[in-house]
């Protein structure tokens, strides 16, 4: 049983996304609200606070708390930011697994996994591409009750 954590580059990707979103929001606010000085200031401050919150608190906590591993015929995922969550999926019940790569994941060599079982699904974001492929292969190709 080897516990796998998210790589540092996943955090970099999330922070980059937060920065892009914050930049776009600021651009739109400047374009639309610059005449209303008070509202513009307020909106910009709120955007800044939200950006700092995601950049310094939310994403680092999300990256630190995220761990997954295989144990006792189950895929176990520890995650959460303020609430701690452990998600346990019996491997026998997994129907299929989808990998997802967005264009911004490609330079970082990352991929997300969507594990589908009967009546539930599980999302593993920003895994290293090789790990995602290995996990997908293992879960799908293993024999039942192995």
């Amino acid at each position: 049983m080897k516990k796998t954590t998210l790589p540092r580059r996943a955090l970099t990707l999330w922070r980059l996304r937060a920065a892009i979103v914050a930049f776009l929001v600021s651009f739109l606010l400047t374009l639309l609200l610059s005449d209303l000085y008070l509202w513009y200031q307020l909106a910009m401050i709120l955007t800044g606070i939200a950006f700092l919150f995601f950049f310094c608190v939310y994403y680092p906590l999300k990256q630190v708390k995220f761990t997954y591993f295989l144990h006792n015929g189950q895929l176990i995922l520890d995650c959460g930011v303020f609430y701690n969550r452990r998600r346990v999926v019996p491997l026998d019940n997994i129907q299929y697994i989808t990998t997802l790569r967005t264009p911004d994941m490609l330079p970082f060599g990352l991929a997300s996994l969507m594990v589908h079982s009967v009546g539930a699904s599980l999302y593993l974001p920003c895994l290293p591409w090789a790990d995602a492929q290995n996990l997908q292969e293992y879960c799908v190709r293993r024999k039942k009750h192995e």
């Binding site: 516990k3 591993f69 006792n72 520890d78 959460g80 609430y83 701690n84 346990v88 009546g119």
Partner: protein
Amino acid sequence: MTERHTHPITLLQMIWRFLFLLIFPAARGFLTALSGGNVTEWLGGAWKDILIIVAILFLAFLQWWCLRYRWEPVGLSIRKGVLFRQRMFIPAAKIITMSLTRPFYLKPVGGVRLRVDTWAGASNSTDISLTLPRKAAEDILSKRESCLTHADFAPREYHPKGLYIACLSAILSSSFAGVLFFATFISQTGSLLGQEFADRITGTFERLTRTIAWGLPPATVALAYLIIFGWLYSFLRNLIRHKNFVLHRRKSEFMISSGIITNRSYSIRLSEINYIDIRQSLVTKLLGLYSVFINAVGYGKEKDDISAMIPANPWDRLQRHLHFLLPEFAVSPRQVKSNGGAIFRFILDPLIPTLTIPAAGAVLATLFPSWADFTYSIVWMAMIPCLWFLTVRFLDFFSSGVGRQGDMFTLRYSSGSQLHTVILPLARISQVVLRQSPIQAFDRRCDVFVYSTSEKKTQHHLRNLDLAQVMEIFGCNETNALPFPGWPKPLISLTEYLHPFSNYLRQWMPFWKKQNKNGTF
């Protein structure tokens, strides 16, 4: 076996599909009238209308003619389509639930609706639904039964008492459905029988509520009567639906039939039962009665379907019936349960409206004194469900928890106004989520969400259980964490807060594993 046609009544369903073609005769009549034409002109082109009606009938007939089915020992094959031919085959081994429904309107023509459900297909509709002649449908069902029966297994039969059926109907009844029915009935009466008739009904209801108001505001009494009559209507419907309930247990099958006006029979493959749910409402809790429901694909799927297995029974008798009918699903004792301090986690949700509604009522009564009587009566009525919900959560606090016996879990929890005892095999668990809030982190406890395999997402929520015990019982305690027995518990470290599941206190041997060694289970 040769291919057969469905019941000719299916033609009506087919005609319904092509009724949109009547828009052409309607449009022709409308345009004739608009262009100042008379009846003679319209009659001159009547052959076109007749042609369209003939086309509708012909297309419907063609569709019906091309719809054929065949039951073989290996499965059900269906062929349909005129231009786009479809051939469907459902292997018998994949059919989980097969049911026959005889609605009152199909009885005079001897028609029966056959429904087939598998793991595939939409979660809110039947995979296959065919209207067949009664004999043919019963023949298919009996052939399936013979496949699932074994000579060395003596069939078992269960007939519940009428009183227990009435109890089950009471448990399943809700005022909402009845109120919805009455509201639709009154609103539709106006459009069907005229506004005068609708006004007469509303007027009679108003006079009746004024006569028997007993000093209460008439609006409150009207609302109360609407809820009571709504509940009674729902109760009667459920009673009619569950009357003549009979359950047959065979080697690998449950055969359940019930109903007076509409007769329903269900054949469920036993190995595909996801879980059984022993339910209690507040009233049945006080009466000491329990009802058992089955969760299987296709059973209880449609609006008027039945989903019960044992209608209502005292605990001892229920255990006997359950052991007799379904010994595979045995209730295990509570091994992991909430601590005393968790009571607020249970009662907080109902406590908020229980305290805020009277306060809001008092404020409104002060602001609008002329409406005070009405406001207080509404507050009283609103308090009933709040107190009801509060009592249910209190009872849940004393009964909730998890038990395990081999690979069979027993989950006790409440959902809405019902107390549930769910018996769920390990193989039917789709996902377990342990969720720990920042407050629960200090107490090393968590909420547990168990998702069971089902066509729909089915969730069982258990509140405030010990983290280590939960990890152990669900087999995800990879570090062999141990609950801390003393008090006060040591404050959690940053590492434990960030990774509570893998940095729990110390190793221990769970008591159910010890019991296993002694052979008590």
